[in-house]
């Protein structure tokens, strides 16, 4: 049995939860946050034993990559900025309406539009991000729009022409290890000309393509020495057999899979569809969606990596826009966000200790 809840305050969506979804969040002491079109969602387990998660949805200007750095910091890429949102509540703090984390936009870097789809934080707190427009992995720059760190070897110029559509970044021992590209292309916009069958995983350290033939790969993540990744255009989540240079499907859904967070031995994968349909037309995932009743599956899926199967899910009905990125926030039960231009950003004040 799945429970259906309607959140009256927003009205344009409902949730279908697997029986154990909320308990799974609570057991793993995490909340999930994801970007979707012009809003950011936060999903926490809420009160102990409660039947429904605590959900907060806030408007942001074209949010893309999102990543939590510990319990108190969330980085979020938006249309032309990368924001650092900072929790302003102490360990025992609660907002009047019971939230235990309140993430307030604290600082932002102006990057210009980069298409920063995947963010990662190093141990020293510095941010790495995929820069789709400039085909690189980048860091924030104090003076310029960004500081490039790595460009795939097959891209021969450092320009803003989105040649390979670099979408994803996996860290290993605090360093960039693998990147995903939608096409092994050196032509401006060339990744679009490849019929979306030339997605690849690139070894950042060896500067070599290590797997090809993926269909729009996103969100590479290393866990226990295995490289997990999505092949979104075929609705697949799986891993790379690095010996054979092949993608092995583990789970398949009638949805575009983009945004993966590893929690313990589980991967939480975000699934969504397209409003326009144009981009995904002709992809295997579109046929799968049509075969499954003509409706994109949308929501969050918890996959047990040991067993290779979906164990819990939160399906979103309505609010049918693309989810672009997902992160797990440790220790949060009821997180809430404040938008950068909201009244709260003007009036919510967290004062540092007097010196």
């Amino acid at each position: 049995m799945t429970g259906t809840f309607t959140y009256q305050e927003l009205r344009d969506w409902e949730l279908e939860l697997s029986d154990g979804f909320v308990a799974w969040l609570a057991d793993h002491d995490v909340a999930l946050a994801f970007s979707q079109a012009n809003r950011v969602w936060m999903v926490g387990p809420g009160s102990p034993g409660g039947p429904r998660p605590d959900i907060d949805v806030q408007a942001f200007d074209q949010p893309l990559g999102i990543v939590a750095d510990g319990p108190d910091t969330v980085w979020l890429a938006t249309r032309y900025q990368i924001w650092r949102l900072q929790n302003v509540l102490g360990p025992e703090g609660r907002t009047r309406d019971g939230h235990d984390r309140l993430y307030v936009p604290r600082t932002a870097h102006t990057t210009g539009f980069l298409g920063a789809q995947d963010l990662a934080v190093r141990a020293d707190g510095s941010l790495l991000f995929t820069n789709t427009l400039f085909n690189c992995i980048a860091t924030l720059s104090p003076s310029l729009s960004f500081e490039p760190q790595w460009i795939p070897p097959f891209v021969t110029e450092f320009t803003g022409e989105d040649r390979c559509h670099l979408t994803g970044l996996a860290l290993r021992e605090d360093q960039p290890a693998f990147a995903t590209v939608l096409g092994v292309s050196d032509q401006p916009g060339g990744w679009r000309a490849t019929d979306h069958r030339d997605g690849a995983v690139v070894d950042v350290v060896a500067d070599a393509v290590v797997a090809r033939g993926l269909c729009m790969p996103y969100s590479p993540r290393l866990h226990d020495g295995r490289l997990w990744v999505t092949s979104a255009g075929e609705g697949a989540f799986g891993y790379i057999d690095l010996e054979r240079g092949r993608f092995e499907t583990v789970v398949q859904l009638p949805a575009f899979l983009r945004g993966v967070a590893i929690v313990g031995r589980y991967a939480v994968v975000a699934a969504s569809g397209s409003r326009s349909g144009e981009l995904f037309s002709g992809l295997p995932v579109e046929s799968a969606m049509l075969a499954a009743g003509g409706r994109w599956r949308q929501g969050l899926y918890v996959i047990d990596l040991d067993r290779g199967e979906i164990v819990e899910s939160m399906t979103i009905i309505g609010a049918g826009y693309e989810i672009t990125a997902l992160t797990a926030i440790p220790g949060a039960t009821s997180p809430k966000l404040v938008g950068p231009n909201s009244d709260e950003a003007q009036h919510c004040v967290a004062v540092g200790a007097s010196s």
Binding site: R106, T107, F134, L144, Q149, L279, V349, S354, S355
Partner: protein, 389 residues
Amino acid sequence: MDLAAAPDTFSVSASPGFAAWLAAQNASIAFATPPSKLFLVGIRPDGELGVFERTFDKTMGLAREGTDRIYMGLRHQVWRLENVLPPPDRLEQGFDRCFVPRQVHTIGDVNVHDVSVAPDGDVWFVNTRFGCLSRLSDEHTFDPAWSPPYLPGPANGDRCHLNGLAMGPQGPLFASSVSETDAIDSWRDHRSGGGVVTHIPSGEVVARGFSMPHSPRWYDDRLWITNSGTGDLCLVDPDPGTFEPVAFIPGFPRGLSFINHYAVVGSSKPREGDLYSGLGLGERLADMGLEPQLGIFVVDLQTGGVVEWMVVDGPMRELFDVITLPGVRRAMAVGLVSDEIERTHWIDSSSMRRTDAGTWDHVGTGEAGDATRAVAEVDALGRDGGVSG
């Protein structure tokens, strides 16, 4: 506020010698006129005055760090703007600085007044609503760093209208406030003659009797201030706590900066019945047959005379702060209203080097040095569905 709808009709006029004076100082001037404008004044290639303006949400205090970085207080934010043009011998359309809003701090609607950079690089601002000097923080909305002795500490509710900060060679040196009272909003009853200057390191009030003082500045080893309610630029002697008028400004003087032996003083237009009126300034102006002006006035510190001026005629009535940029000929800035901020990128194209092996080495970006502008056609970018809507 809707920035695109901000008042945009205004005209600028200046004294005949203003351009020559500015060129002779080898400097540019930036000033903020709330609710929405940042003005940058410099010299065009043809020697004429060049006025450049951008729209932001409630422009307040300004500070510079060197001449490649500006801090700007807004309604609930402090922005750091960075110059992206290479060294000034390479001009772009006659501009030798282009300031891009690079990083923003959300400080809340604390009624930020003066902003200043300490010698150690910390950014300080006057937090008028909380009655304290604050530092920018990556963790908190602000870090309170100092409160005047007559307040029990930082607290919400503007009590004394703490508004000005003079940065000294070792750090924050003097602060100005409209009163030395600690009841919420009580400063409004002390606008005439209740203003004080407090020495920050010792926490002692060192001069009293000002009418709505603003913009204390430490320059040439002396303390200057605008006694705004009477229209005077003043020189303060903290010991024994006296002050002398240096020059009369035809308006409500606020915003003060220096270049060589000149003071550049901002001037606002008080309105009958508003907070800035009833302090003697209106009568002085009427006696002299003058209308209050919105603009900047250049005072020769050797003679005390106003030697040059520039006024803005438009819907704005306030000038909040002014800074001089020594060595800068003409500066421009990128705004946040148009999609330029989204479409334009500044990169150092030499920061990545292609190797013989066909891979890339990260060389790194120099000291803001070799920035090149990369205007990307964002619409042509592969928006793969993630950025629709």
